[in-house]
């Protein structure tokens, strides 16, 4: 608009008439392209696009591809042949498959439950003021930091019938008469596997809960004491309500991680004596990679996925529901 005042000065000046008409249409002052490029929403979208592309390739495409494969007979290296629901019929006709589903639910329930209780216990112990507590924290964290397969192999050896630490300890110290086949006896195998899963996964709960516990203001405990609360009441009416959000997040994450963890079962029992420790991820692995039948392997996962989704939904509804 200044250009109109200094007629003839400089180059490329707008003439008065031009300025007046320009002033009436502000959007023509800058080009449409530079307007578009400077729009915050466009810039934001462009920044997010690379991440979206990665997600699309690494998550969406394999997922859709798995759904597609579950309706085909696809062996590795062979072309896919459409067979409709035949894979699912084969799965549900096999009574071992239903047992596998049941095993998965039992295994997940007990593993997550035990990890929760132990993790909370460890966290409360670590939350107590103590000299050198960073040492205890570090040591208690190690089982989760160690690669799962290392933990699994270690326990495979501890559980061994004749050379294992556990049997030898029980016989020598407790006076047990005969060896127990921890991984070979159908009655003990699942419990043995769950013990390893708990050993390996509890530190995640411990550290998360410890952070949550430290965030509870001390004044709440003092207020509770003034009101006459004892230790148990302090725990139930102060600690638990304050920790609910942490509980929700940790349990949901861990449910997913635990139920899809095939390493420990695979290394310890490979499905176990008579399928007693077979869980869905292991079955999918066996079909898809060991037997090279990608079609039915995908079908196993397609059955697994809704079960998992329902679990997560139930958990999130229960835990995210705000109490008054």
């Amino acid at each position: 608009m200044l250009e109109g005042r200094f007629q003839g000065s400089g180059t490329g000046d707008a003439r008065p008439g031009q300025v007046a008409s320009l002033a009436g249409r502000p959007e023509a002052r800058t080009s449409r392209l530079s307007n578009w490029v400077n729009d915050q929403r466009v810039i934001g979208t462009l920044f997010v696009l690379p991440a979206l592309a990665v997600l699309a390739f690494v998550v969406v495409y394999p997922f859709l591809s798995a759904i597609w494969m579950s309706f085909h007979d696809k062996m590795v290296g062979a072309p896919a042949r459409f067979i409709g629901f035949d894979n699912y019929v084969e799965l549900f006709g096999d009574r071992h498959f239903v047992k596998t589903i049941r095993n998965t639910l039992v295994y997940t329930f007990f593993a997550v439950g035990l990890k929760f209780l132990l993790g909370l216990g460890m966290a409360m112990v670590l939350a107590q003021p103590r000299r050198l507590d960073f040492i205890y924290r570090t040591i208690l964290f190690v089982p989760w930091a160690v690669p799962t397969i290392v933990a699994a192999l270690s326990f495979r050896w501890i559980y061994d019938d004749f050379s294992g630490l556990l049997n030898n300890f029980l016989i020598a110290v407790v006076g047990m008469q005969d060896v127990i086949s921890w991984l070979g006896d159908p009655n003990y195998a699942m419990a043995s596997v769950i013990a390893v899963v708990v050993w390996s996964g509890t530190p995640f709960y411990t550290m998360s809960f410890l952070a949550g516990l430290k965030a509870i203001p001390k004044e709440m405990y003092e207020a509770a004491r003034i009101d006459g609360a004892n230790v148990w009441q302090e725990f139930w009416y102060v600690t638990i309500p304050q920790m609910r959000k942490v509980f929700t997040v940790v349990v949901m994450l861990s449910t997913i991680w635990t139920s899809t963890n095939l390493v420990i079962v695979q290394v310890l029992t490979n499905g176990g004596p008579a399928n007693t420790t077979q869980i869905l991820p292991n079955l999918a692995y066996k079909y898809a990679l060991l037997a090279s039948r990608l079609g039915i392997g995908s079908a196993v996962n397609m059955v697994f996925f809704p079960i998992l989704a329902v679990l997560i939904y139930i958990l999130s509804r229960r835990m995210l529901a705000e109490r008054e």
Binding site: S154, F155, W157, S163, N168, W199, V231
Partner: protein, 67 residues
């Protein structure tokens, strides 16, 4: 100092320390076993009795690993 805390507090401290000891043992035993096994000779590992410390500690396994 001890008299300032209530009995419940001191009880909780004691319970906490015992539990901590249990948790530490639970966490460390597998590593101890791993370490000890790595120093044993083959026949002692696969034998019928397990020992808490190798009869003749050997670096044989490490040798095989690195060379």
């Amino acid at each position: 100092m001890a008299g300032v805390q209530s009995k419940a507090d001191r009880g909780m401290k004691w319970v906490g320390n015992v539990l901590l000891l249990v948790f530490m043992i639970w966490t460390l035993v597998p590593f101890y076993w791993m370490f000890v096994t790595s120093l044993k000779e083959h026949k002692e590992i696969y034998g019928t009795e397990a020992t808490l410390w190798p009869r003749e500690p050997t670096l044989e396994s490490y040798h095989i690993l690195f060379f």
